[in-house]
Symmetry: C4
């Protein structure tokens, strides 16, 4: 028997560490104090990359979490797809640091977009595996909710493909798309899961 | 349905990692052994910054924990406010390291104070969101407790604003205020939550 | 009384951190932009080492998890064997980084193989301790499952011994064996544990 | 109400991260391959420091865990003592790295011993706070067990004081004491807690 709660705990750990390691790429400058303002200004791309990546990985965590709420069991393939997902999410700090080093050039932004696209595509693969014939889904998941998940994954994937393409033309447009995808997620949608009762309440109901 | 316990687990992970990464800014000196005492003395600001930041982030963890004890459900905006809170808490290691590098100068202390202020202000925003019309609160939370939370957040915010201002006048005064805010938190207050029965007992009661 | 769930939580934390620290060995190159493609190509061994080690440590996490599912209690020796296991798993990032630095030389691959072998051998020791006279096993674990665990541990150990030996002859053959062991694990086997009901369902059954 | 399980989760996170960060002090040498054996031999103190510190922090984790098993509730002072304990445990990677850099000199070993002593002394303070008038203890904790905890903390504290003293006379003797303290812990003792039923069983009993 595979344990869904331990899968969640392990994934939460990886997401939490990835998100927190991002700050390690903002290095303290070693300059005389009178050059510090200048040096701090030159770190702004790093701070932007930190904030952007922090929110995007946070968004993946929320997606991961929302998907598992629809799933009532996990099996061996789920475990392996999850390891692959974490492999790509765990890779994000590298292109994020690269992008901070070369903020206005094509290659780092393409790599960053590819890491995001790969993470999201694996997430979609996990969803396709779980939702095909409702293999792992809870019985109360509606067809409308399933369709909404498909649309959401596809919209994000297409956005990232466009962002990667734009990096060859005009790099700031890629950044605009990365921010736009975050905005899509933050705006409430009609199929969003409603708020939830706390654990204590659940425990009380289970007893 | 959003799961309060997974939000706690993820946040606990981020707090635990931020608090532990702080030691990475205390670098081992690479000098001949007879110069080691000198080199270690020059690390004292780093050790002070480590201890101060460790306790402050620990304090945020306790606050986060106390707030969630008053809340009986989490919704999508809560999740996003929480991600923003973690974004600012996760940023603290950078100004902490900067402050250790330039311990008696204005800019690093101002940045450090701003990171603390931003973290605390987002925490207050989370509280305002949860407490307005008792939106997410447990029914047994008293009005007195709600007022105490408001006062506590405001007092800390005002202290940090003063600390930031003092950094332009006399940097050690800012440090004194940072330590003073910790002292405020450590001193028991009449509205403090009483001690709690252990998990085993709760499980027993729920069954 | 020793608590199995806290042992799991601590081990999950160590596995999650080890797996995520691996990316720190992929350093951002500091070269002029026109030399970046060259510099990124020279990082390919690091990326390969990252992916290989991520999946292998993920595999250890799954094994650890599967073993604990067969065990119904933990005692003091289990705790110490577990600490030793984590000690060797926590060491893996070092030979992984070494292997990325010298990808086609014998010594790093031997060290990497030894770290994998030691981790797996300690895992086998844990299993021998738990399974001898069914000391810590749940009553419903079948003899066939016990035998399958023995075979699985021995097959992996022998594979790693061969990989270490091959590193003295032809280094790429060692890499092939490392990848082959992963493939063994990914392929479903008749004695694999069946899929599991989610936590909510378990809680409902327990109540 | 303060939550014992979240205190455990946060502490587990810090212990797991501290233990895993230790490997970051074993740096990959950047030398031509024919000088690699030499370079790896010079890393042996780092590997020894890694293994010693890993086991000692693992030991603190087990102690922390055993102590919480005797405690049935946590209050605000417990939280603060716990933060202080984690502050000192989180500091251990620094003297550990220092000791690896200067393995046969007095100062690093003294600092290392002081960090261990401080961690253990705070642990003892936590125990004194919990056990005085059985303030936080579960009702079924025997007087014999309480006495055994006192003796255990005092024995380790005295050992560390001796190890610190020996560092001024003959550094290897300090190492011998550090290893000896581990041995004390590994050897089973009559007052050791007996093995425990798994979580599933507890849940079943609670329901």
């Amino acid at each position: 028997m595979m344990n869904k709660s331990r899968l969640e705990a392990f994934s939460d750990g990886v997401f939490a560490i990835v998100i927190t390691l991002l700050i390690l790429d903002v290095h303290v400058p070693k300059v005389p104090y009178d050059q510090l303002p200048q040096a701090l200004l030159s770190l702004l791309p790093n701070v932007f990359s930190y904030a952007l990546s922090f929110i995007i990985v946070g968004l993946y965590w929320i997606s991961h979490h929302n998907m598992l709420l629809l799933i009532h069991r996990v099996d061996r393939p789920t475990l392996w797809i999850n390891i692959l997902l974490l492999l790509f999410v765990g890779f994000i700090p590298f292109p994020a640091a690269l992008m901070a080093e070369y903020p206005l050039h094509t290659i780092p932004v393409v790599l960053y977009g590819c890491a995001l696209l790969a993470s999201n595509a694996i997430g979609y693969a996990a969803w396709l595996y779980a939702a095909t014939n409702r293999r792992l889904l809870k019985p109360d998941v509606t067809d409308r909710r399933i369709r909404a998940m498909h649309i959401s994954f596809l919209a994000v994937n297409i956005s990232y493909v466009i962002a990667i393409g734009m990096a060859f033309v005009y790099v700031p447009a890629s950044y605009a798309i990365f921010v736009f995808v975050i905005a899509i997620f933050v705006i409430p949608k009609p199929w969003d899961p409603p708020a939830n009762e706390a654990r204590e309440v659940q425990a009380g109901q289970a007893g």
